[in-house]
């Protein structure tokens, strides 16, 4: 719905005339439909995105709530209960030590999603700063920073994370976050640089220069807030990448140490019995796939919602 400001003006004046002046509120109500409201409306019209959003929230609720309310101790070893198939008592079955997988997958999700969000947050900060500085300053600095990035791009993803972990010498939540951040901030930096360079050419940036605004004001007030839409989309594009990266490392045995587990290490545990007890590997894998798919569809919906000009889908 496009509201013509002059029409709104006209309507509000009409209202004003009819009610004797103090009814500007009516006009104000019409104009409340802001950019964000339009975005929300566009997002809610995208079925895949809404379903994914619901799925994503359900997953988060499962991960947060189940360990609180579950009657089972996730680390309690009881071999008499080993390898039970999914049932009402144990919806996801039990593993080789008789531990309840319903609660262990939820706990694993806390670690996987926690690492995912923390690393995504960190890589957004690094990527936005690097890209913004590169694009904003331009010239030789831009060239140097981008060639450096090209060199990093040339190397594969996993070795980066593995080398970083090796440098730390320990694998825990925070070293995992750092390793995944180091390995995956490049794309964000590039896209942000492109954004800043495009925005820099805007008339309102010229206008800001024309009123004598200093560089930091132009960067933080006029440029970065306008990249917010893209940044939000990127959070949901990078989150699944990071979660997958973590799962991959854990599957290779470079993950969180037992008895703690992430989805990746749960899948690794189930890998050896995948013929006799397939649910051991299938359930954590579904959890990973669930998160990745919902996040991608949310990203897609957000992109369409925040930038109405793009209509094609990924």
């Amino acid at each position: 719905m496009v509201v013509n400001p002059e029409e709104v003006e006209f309507r509000s004046r009409l209202v004003e005339r009819e009610a004797g002046g103090e009814t500007y509120a009516a006009g104000a109500a019409i104009r409340q439909a802001s950019l964000w409201r339009d975005a929300v409306r566009r997002f809610t019209h995208n079925k895949a995105a809404v379903v994914s959003m619901v799925g994503f929230v359900v997953l988060l609720l499962y991960v947060v709530i189940v360990p609180w309310v579950s009657p089972y101790d996730p680390n309690n070893v009881d071999f008499s209960l080993a390898y039970q198939n999914p049932s009402l008592h144990h919806p996801f079955g039990t593993d080789e030590f008789g531990r309840d997988l319903f609660v262990r997958v939820a706990l694993g999700g806390r670690i996987s999603i926690g690492i995912g969000f923390a690393a995504t947050f960190a890589l957004m900060i690094v990527g936005i700063l690097y890209g913004a500085i590169s694009g904003f300053v331009g010239g030789w600095l831009d060239n140097a920073l981008m060639r450096f990035l090209d060199a990093l791009y040339g190397l594969p993803y996993l070795p980066f994370a593995i080398i970083t972990l090796a440098i730390f010498g320990v694998v825990n939540f925070w070293t995992m976050v750092v390793a995944l951040t180091v390995a995956s901030w490049f794309t964000t930096a590039r896209v942000m640089r492109g954004q800043i360079i495009t925005l820099k050419e805007n008339d309102y940036v010229r206008a800001a220069r024309a009123i004598g605004a200093r560089w930091y004001r132009i960067l933080f007030r006029h440029l970065l807030p306008n990249t917010l839409g893209v940044a939000i989309v990127f959070v949901f594009l990078e989150l699944p990448n990071v979660v997958l990266g973590e799962a991959f490392l854990s599957f290779l045995g470079l993950g969180i140490n037992p008895p703690n587990a992430s989805w990746g290490s749960l899948a690794q545990d189930g890998y050896s019995q995948y013929l006799s007890h397939p649910y051991l590997i299938v359930i954590p894998s579904i959890a990973i796939a669930w998160l990745i798919l919902t996040a991608f569809f949310i990203a897609d919906g957000l992109r369409d919602a925040l930038d109405p000009r793009t209509t094609e889908h990924v």
Partner: protein, 337 residues
């Protein structure tokens, strides 16, 4: 001494194909309280002249020579930092396209207050109060409420009014309006021009209006400089220019203007100017207008040496070998063509 004196300004742009001589020896002066109109077609160097004055040239452009004195101070030798203190405070500028000149993520009020908070020692409340006054001054109804709107709630004409309010917020002494009405509806244009003139008087500013529209300068300017291919080809007072145009290019521009009253209305066709402006990568050494000039003949000086800007009458400068008043004395040549 005039408020702004630009003397023999040359601004070149580096491109892959070579150096573009966008402004090639322009001298203008803006008197206090007067309006100077700069007229010319696209790419003649009008906007680059303005950006040179503001110190806002893109990285590829630089002022090669010449001086820009504002209130006796030399702008070309100032650092960016010093220029930042002058921009918005002493010299303000409004741009062609009001639809893109406002930041879509900031409220109108924030954007008006930004300039004041940058240059003046005012509190937030004072700045806000003054922002409301400014919006009222540019005739935005319900100023107090509309201050908190985002730009997409404003129409093109209203946005240009906001841009004017922003430009005026620190009481600048010179306002540069670069095609202020080009992107607007015809019905809105006249309103904006009236507003500019009204505010110029109220705030005792000088003004430079840059446009390709003879109608705009006719309405608003005291003096007019006509630019062609990076140079000034004719410069005089507005009345003199419209009553006695001397340069063939000025005549052609006026001939291309539709007339609604006077003799010949309805009968005369609008005349277009044949050809295109010369390539400024490699400007011709001879008269730059010669290839399009109906009076140029290739056996005379037009094809060989560039005409100088000369004072044909007191206060009337023109750069051509065939000014209108001298042509009449040599009717044969014109008849031969």
């Amino acid at each position: 001494m005039a408020l702004l004196e630009v003397d023999d300004l040359r601004t070149y742009f580096k491109t892959r194909a070579g150096e573009v001589h966008a402004v090639d020896g322009v001298s203008i002066a803006v008197e206090r309280g007067k309006t100077l109109g700069i007229v010319g077609e696209s790419g003649c160097g009008k906007s680059v002249t303005a950006l040179s004055i503001m110190g806002l040239l893109p990285p590829s452009g630089r002022i090669v020579s010449g001086s820009i004195r504002f209130d006796g101070r030399e702008l070309t030798r100032m650092s960016q930092r010093e220029l930042e203190d002058i921009r918005g405070r002493q010299i303000a500028m409004i741009f062609q396209d009001p639809m893109t000149s406002l930041n879509p993520t900031l409220r109108i009020g924030t954007q008006i207050m930004e300039t004041m908070q940058r240059h003046l020692d005012v509190s937030r409340d004072e700045a806000r109060k003054r922002a409301i006054d400014l919006l009222e001054e540019v005739h935005i109804p319900n100023a107090r409420q509309r201050l908190d709107d985002y730009p997409h709630r404003y129409s093109g004409g209203m946005r240009q009014r906001v841009m004017i309010a922003i430009a005026l917020s620190c009481n600048p002494r010179l306002l540069i309006a670069d095609e202020p009405t080009t992107a607007l509806d015809v019905t809105v244009q006249a309103g904006i021009l009236d507003l500019l003139e009204e505010l110029r008087e109220e705030h005792e500013m000088s003004m430079i209006i840059i446009t390709h529209d003879m109608g705009v300068v006719a309405e608003a300017a005291d003096d007019i400089a006509v630019m062609y291919a990076g140079q000034i080809v004719e410069q005089t007072s507005a009345e003199e220019l419209f009553d006695h145009p001397e340069h063939p290019y000025t005549e052609a521009l006026l001939g291309a203007l539709p007339q609604l009253e006077g003799e010949g209305v309805r009968r005369g066709r609008l005349t277009a100017i044949p050809g295109r402006p010369p390539d400024l990568l490699d400007p011709p050494t001879a008269c730059r207008f010669a290839p399009r000039c109906p009076y140029a003949s290739f056996d005379d000086s037009c094809a060989k040496e560039p005409p100088e800007l000369r004072e044909i009458r007191p206060g009337h400068l023109v750069r051509t070998a065939h000014p209108a008043s001298e042509r009449a004395a040599r009717p044969v040549e014109a008849a031969v063509r």
